[in-house]
Amino acid sequence: MTFQLLCFYAFAAVTTLAALGVITLRNSVHAVLCLVLTFFSTAAIWLLAEAEFLAVALVVVYVGAVMVLFLFVVMMLDIKQEPLREGFIRYLPVGIAVAAVMLAEMLALIGVRAMAQVPAPANPAGDSNIAWLGETLFTRFLLPFEIAALILTVGIIAAVALTLRRREGVRHQDPARQVAVDPRTRVRVVKMAAERGQEPAA
């Protein structure tokens, strides 16, 4: 139990430090990697709360997919760092104020949990909560689930409509057509009578 608590504090510390790194590091690729670490240690914390499926899904979806896109974008846009930092100090007080409100909220929430003495809901499905989660998702939350599919479809349309463009005038090879070339249409074999050349001078 104590070891578990120790782990929690370790992961919580890593999460916080990594999150701090995200907003303070100058190099944007480093910042993205910090965000990856934040997600990863958050997943570890969820795991400690026995949210097995959600924790691993967080790694699969966020670390494995979303952050890869982040990395693609940040790496390739090659953002110049200096101008980005100008507003940082100016907006710091506002940020701190918002953070303070959030903290108060969180404390309120924790206070409520402590007061209510609600034990964390026990694993209803026994050993794994993935079955429980699946059953809830596909019975009670059936309609939201299908709407999520709709939203994903809209995401696909938006992504394609906004990024894909046929560039005019770009010459490119079509390797498939190159390979499919039939030699008979390119080379004509001509039969001709052999000519008698000049005898080389002896």
Binding site: F3, N27, V29, H30, L33, V36, E52, F53, V56, A57, V59, V60, V63, G64, A65, V68, L71, F72, M75, D127, S128, I130, P175, A176
Partner: protein, 339 residues
């Protein structure tokens, strides 16, 4: 407290019992690769160092260790060193959930399959970061190609895993193997009902590890060595280790998911030969590992557009359809797997 330490030490011993043989396996696999391809080319392959050249791989390791790690001038130094570590860590950590025999598994996770997906999806970081940190055109190009390819085939692999899951009804790998047990030996395994998915899974696995014929990311005739062109010495060795560990991992996974893991291909009624054993698993994995080499010696390299087309336009549609087919099989009881 004392007991806890003892447990930790015992776990550590188990981990080393997996990792050390894995490292040796990687060394022997690279030796075997050169040998096999040599034979297929009617050459001898390595044969100077040690009996039949067996020590060749170890000689290579020592050579690499004593070479300089050249860090290019404009490279991002911390990330340059971080990239190989990020490549090798998931390639090894994934082994935590592989069941070698009934009950012989380091961590019998309930979400083992998802954990594997998570680990394989993390491998892409090593590639991208290596390409970016090197600050070299070839490395970056190779990294982008490789990352896009890995990511594309990961979808097909994930869908294939879902098919297995549909039949097995559990994310636990031991349960998945047990779901393939039955009286009929190899006819009970999942490769039969999931035949197209089985093929897709292994081919996607080859593409996922950037191996021939999908090795455009390091097609030496166009972009030299791809994302690790700037890596030398032991930093290169780490990438090499990660790549081969991943190949062996895919071989084991294909065996566990589709070929019944440690189960015997013969009916259980055949006595000793019908009993499950880790030997079966290793034999199956060896067969897959051999296929990797066979592919490399046999097939010409795919073009990049062909690779992407195969992944997106062939594999993904087939796996999507097969998820539903597998669902129907399971629901209407057309197959009795997992019973």
């Amino acid at each position: 407290m004392h007991a806890d330490l003892l447990l930790a030490a015992w776990t550590l011993a188990k981990i080393l019992a997996i990792s050390v043989p894995l490292i040796i396996a990687v060394a022997m696999y690279s030796y075997w690769e050169r040998k096999v391809i040599g034979w297929m080319h009617v050459r001898m392959g390595p044969n100077k160092i040690g009996p039949w050249g067996l020590l060749q791989a170890f000689a290579d390791v020592f050579k690499l260790l004593f070479k300089e790690i050249v860090v290019p001038a404009n490279a991002d130094k911390p990330l340059f060193y971080l990239a190989p570590v990020l490549a090798v860590a998931p390639a090894f950590a994934a082994w935590a959930v592989i069941p070698f025999d009934q009950g012989v598994v380091l961590a019998n996770l309930n979400v083992g399959l998802l954990y594997l997906l998570a680990m394989t999806s993390m491998g892409v970081y090593g590639i991208i970061l290596a390409g970016w940190a090197s600050n070299s055109r070839y490395a970056l190009l190779g990294a982008m190609r490789s990352a896009a390819q890995v990511v594309s085939y990961e979808i097909a692999m994930g869908m294939a895993l879902v098919c297995v899951l549909v039949l097995a009804g559990s994310l636990n790998l031991t349960d998945i193997v047990n779901a393939q047990a039955g009286g009929k030996g190899l006819l009970d395994w999942f490769w039969l009902p999931l035949l197209p998915v089985f093929v897709i899974y292994f081919v996607a696995g080859v593409a996922e590890t950037n191996r021939a014929p999908f090795d455009v990311a390091e097609g030496e005739s166009e972009i030299v060595a791809g994302f690790h062109v700037e890596y030398s010495g032991s930093a290169f060795a780490v990438f090499f280790l990660a790549e081969y560990a991943n190949m062996i991992l895919i071989s084991f996974l294909a065996s566990v998911m589709f070929l019944g893991g440690w189960l015997s291909p013969f009916p259980a009624s055949w006595g000793l030969i019908g009993q499950g054993s880790w030997i079966w698993l290793f034999a199956k994995a060896f067969a897959f590992a051999f296929m990797y080499l066979w592919f490399r010696a046999t097939f010409p390299r795919y073009r990049y557009d062909q690779i992407m087309r195969l992944g997106w336009k062939v594999f993904i549609p087939i796996t999507i359809v097969w998820v539903l087919v597998a669902g129907c099989m399971k629901y209407f009881g057309w197959i009795t797997a997992g019973a």
